[in-house]
Subunit: 330 residues, 2 copies
């Protein structure tokens, strides 16, 4: 993990590929789209848009499409739609996880309650589909709805497996694919299709997105142990307290002695002391390093997938994004 | 209200226009569509499908389309999609309203908690859009997403106006249009378009749906005062306890003496005694009768809207459904 900790970067903007063709238009589209709704939902959506999201999904749509063709209106609109889907899923996730802080700010459900959060999420989902249907982006729509269904499924699987120490690493990968990977892969896939990529190229972009998504979530799960609350914008150690078994823990409990120890801790509930004991064990046993190495491997696979794609500024941006995932701190 | 109470009918199936062409296929479609999801969501969705909904929305799509043409695959699929949207909105509404009983059965959030309810609703919304996108039903989709946005907006407006006795009857109509009317109108509009109706005919069906929706919600709001818990499948008196100001109350508080009385009651919280006092006042002042008369007027307008439509079995079914709204008890 030293690699993660050593590098100093301006994290907040690290995924903002400056001046990427179309991103300004996406931001405008996001702001313009919510103008039709009444005061309360509007204010909340405006706050969400301005809350400093990394815009990874729109950036992926824009880069993926421009690997193959000129910037189109459809790419901008699809990029905005995917950001709305992402925002909607965050708002609903915060209800599900009962999270009250995200990006250093109180979540919608912390401020407004579950009721409003449900509605704001539904509104944003509907808005995304309105954008896609207005543009007759049937293919993007079909990819997006399948992703949403899988994301719901993934959340249920995650809930069902809380505190379950009998999960395998394969289970973990399946789960994080549904949770994070599929929407990221969808962005790349939809972008490539919009840009006019052929089937093989679309598959390559999808594979890039899938592996990027894996790495993104592995790092996210690592940050829950190693991150800094301030740069992360939310409390650390949440996963373990809530019983979400992530990759570092799965690496650790490969040794049955630690599995038994953890089982006992879960029985009593995770205290500050037991949390620090686990953190110590993770470090002592190289579990954090090993998990990080898997993220590195996923990033290698993501970049390899792009080998068949012709060189361009946008391909280089995608490769750059992949590298940045490994050094992100929020 | 005597009209409502006197008529004896098998209420549960009253909206099931027996053997309507396509309804069996819609039921099959609903069951088939959820087969792709994991065990937990599947079981919950199956329970929802089998929980005895009236299927008004699919019936409206099927009748509206067959007023103009043969039964098509698109009509069946759109009908199923609208039922999924309706189911999703019920599941999310039960979180918003913290309702634990619907159709004599515990709600999803009562059984499984808010977390699962959020996901099941999202899954059903995504499923609806998957069906519409698979069939390239862009027009139906565009109508549906606008309806969902309005429904979210309506829920927020309703929440903002709880215990607000300064609402007008116009406010009430706007609110129930967003809450109920727009989705019902959408079903008729989408059905007519699928059937090949011209612009004037589409508008007629939309007007029918809008007025049907008004009447449907007025009766729903009346049943909260006059209904029987068993046939209704949920507790009565909820609206008032939760501060939802419905048409009978608005009729009553036209007289400022009752407005002041209600204001005082709201301040203390609605008790069993104050609830029965209000019920007595509503009856004494003909407020229930007056509200019912407005539903009758909406049904007249709904039926009048269909005057320009050529006579057919399906038009007669639509007229029949309108009449049945006035005598429904659940």
């Amino acid at each position: 993990m030293s690699k993660v900790i050593v590098k100093e970067k301006t994290q907040r903007e690290m995924f903002h590929v400056k001046n990427i063709n179309g991103l300004k238009e996406v931001e405008e589209k996001l702001l313009k789209e919510i103008l039709d709704v009444n005061g309360d939902i509007y204010k909340i959506c405006l706050r969400l848009i301005k809350s400093g999201g990394k815009r990874i999904r729109p950036i992926l749509v824009l880069c993926s499409s421009q690997c193959f063709g000129e910037l189109t209106k459809e790419a901008i609109q699809t990029a905005a739609a995917y950001e709305f889907i992402h925002m909607a899923s965050l708002v609903h996730d915060d209800i599900i996880d009962e999270s009250f802080v995200r990006r250093n700010k109180p979540t919608v459900n912390a401020l407004e309650g579950n009721q409003v959060s449900v509605l704001v999420g539904d509104y944003l989902f509907a808005k995304a589909f309105e954008i896609l249907s207005t543009n007759r982006s049937i293919k993007s729509m079909s990819i997006a709805v399948k992703a949403i269904q899988q994301m719901c499924d993934g959340e249920i699987v995650q809930a069902d497996n809380k505190f379950n120490l009998n999960q395998t690493i394969e289970n973990y990968y399946e789960r994080i694919y549904k949770k994070t990977g599929i929407l990221i892969a969808s962005c790349c896939q939809a972008g490539a299709i919009i840009g006019g990529a052929d089937k093989v190229q679309v598959e390559a972009l999808k594979a890039y997105g899938k592996n990027l998504g894996y790495a993104f979530q592995i790092i996210d799960d690592l940050l829950d142990f190693t991150g800094n609350e301030e740069s992360l914008g939310k409390p650390v150690g949440c996963d373990l307290r809530e019983g979400n078994i992530t990759l570092p823990i799965l690496k650790l409990i490969n040794q049955s002695i630690y599995k038994d120890r953890l089982k006992k801790m879960f029985k009593k509930g995770i205290t500050v002391e037991s949390y620090y004991e686990i953190l110590y064990l993770l470090k002592e046993n190289n579990a954090l390093e090993e998990a990080y190495d898997e993220a590195v491997y996923c990033i290698k696979k993501a970049k390899d997938a792009l080998e068949i794609i012709e060189d361009s500024m946008y391909k280089r941006m995608l490769l750059d994004i992949a590298d940045k995932v490994l050094v992100r701190k929020n």
